[in-house]
């Protein structure tokens, strides 16, 4: 269904996927969900010295409805967890999630009454960037890996389709 129905011939289909993937990976609108010290490295990455705009990810959006990639940057507490889930649910498809720093990956060195032990206990995560905090080079490497992933995904373009 979907693209296959709208077009004729298998070759065109795969090329369209490729083109859409190319467009999507170079127009990453991020939603920075910044809660802690990792935010400093995020800001460093986003500013001119490391220039995240080279990767087409230079425009952070501060509304989840306009964003493609949710950057979860910093420790997530149990008090904040419902907010994060709500933000994720407000984002339109297609969407991706990046766990930025060890706190979001696994809770990091916080194993206590207050801290979520990894955001993947609540929402699906596409990319894990370890580090406490990760250096901008690590972030850019992660971003390129995310681009790779977006490029090679099956691209859904028609309404009603759901990513699997």
């Amino acid at each position: 269904m979907g693209v296959e129905k709208a077009l004729e011939g298998g070759i065109l289909l795969s090329r369209l996927d490729h083109v859409i993937g190319w467009a999507r990976k170079y127009s990453i609108f991020q939603y920075p969900f910044v809660t802690a010290c990792c935010g400093m490295e995020y800001m460093s990455t986003a500013c001119s010295h490391y220039d995240i705009d080279r990767f087409g990810a230079g425009l952070p959006r501060f509304s989840p409805r306009q964003a493609d990639v949710l950057f979860v940057v910093g420790t997530i507490s149990h008090k904040l967890a419902p907010v994060l889930v709500k933000i994720y649910e407000q984002m339109c498809e297609p969407k991706w999630v990046v766990a930025f720093g060890v706190c979001t990956v696994s809770g990091g060195f916080y194993n206590n009454y207050a801290t979520v032990q990894g955001i993947d206990t609540m929402i699906p995560v596409d990319l894990y960037i370890p580090g406490c905090p990760p250096r901008p080079e690590t972030v850019l490497h992660g971003l390129m890996m995310l681009q790779e992933k977006i490029q090679h995904e099956k691209q859904e373009v028609l309404p009603g389709q759901v990513r699997t």
Partner: protein, 166 residues
């Protein structure tokens, strides 16, 4: 041993009956008062011109559950750290609080900042502050049960709002 500081002298003169203990290690003046005497001592510290402790630097709590050599003593201590901008001196005032009825008088009337500090002490240790205008949790969420910095709060107890109890 040098002379006791103005603070300790004045407090010992005036509150001899309600002061349990006084020490001044390396110049850190510390006064332990009887349970229930915190308000009058603190009021004096703030209003006496020779003391003029106009800043409540910190208000916190200590849980001495299972602490060595403290059998028979109250479980909690509420700790006030005061500073005087005028005289540039400091004092630490401790007030023991029994586990059966962990309640002390609020000092919000003396220093408005005590509002949030007392809410934190309530949230973390379950010490109640009688007369506080808005006593509710400040750090943890309303659904949270118990007081996480109490020594008998299990170190592995988790109360997530969403997701598994990992």
């Amino acid at each position: 041993m040098s002379q006791p500081s103005v603070t300790l002298q004045l407090l010992q003169e005036r509150f001899a009956s309600v002061i349990r203990e006084v020490h001044s290690l390396h110049g850190d003046d510390t006064v332990v008062v009887e349970p229930g005497a915190n308000l009058e001592v603190l009021q004096f510290c703030r209003d006496e011109p020779r003391l003029a402790y106009n800043v409540l630097v910190d208000l916190t709590c200590v849980d001495y559950l299972d602490y060595p050599d403290r059998e028979g003593q109250p479980r909690f201590e509420v700790v006030y750290h005061l500073y005087s901008l005028e005289h540039n001196h400091r004092v630490r005032i401790k007030c023991p609080v029994a586990a059966e009825d962990p309640t002390v008088a609020t000092v919000v009337e003396l220093w408005p900042i005590a509002d949030w500090l007392e809410r934190e002490a309530w949230d973390m240790f379950g010490v109640n502050f009688a007369g506080h205008p808005d006593m509710r949790r400040i750090l943890m969420y309303e659904e949270f049960e118990g007081h996480p910095l109490r020594k008998d709060y299990s170190i592995s107890r988790r109360q997530p709002l969403v997701g598994p109890k990992n």
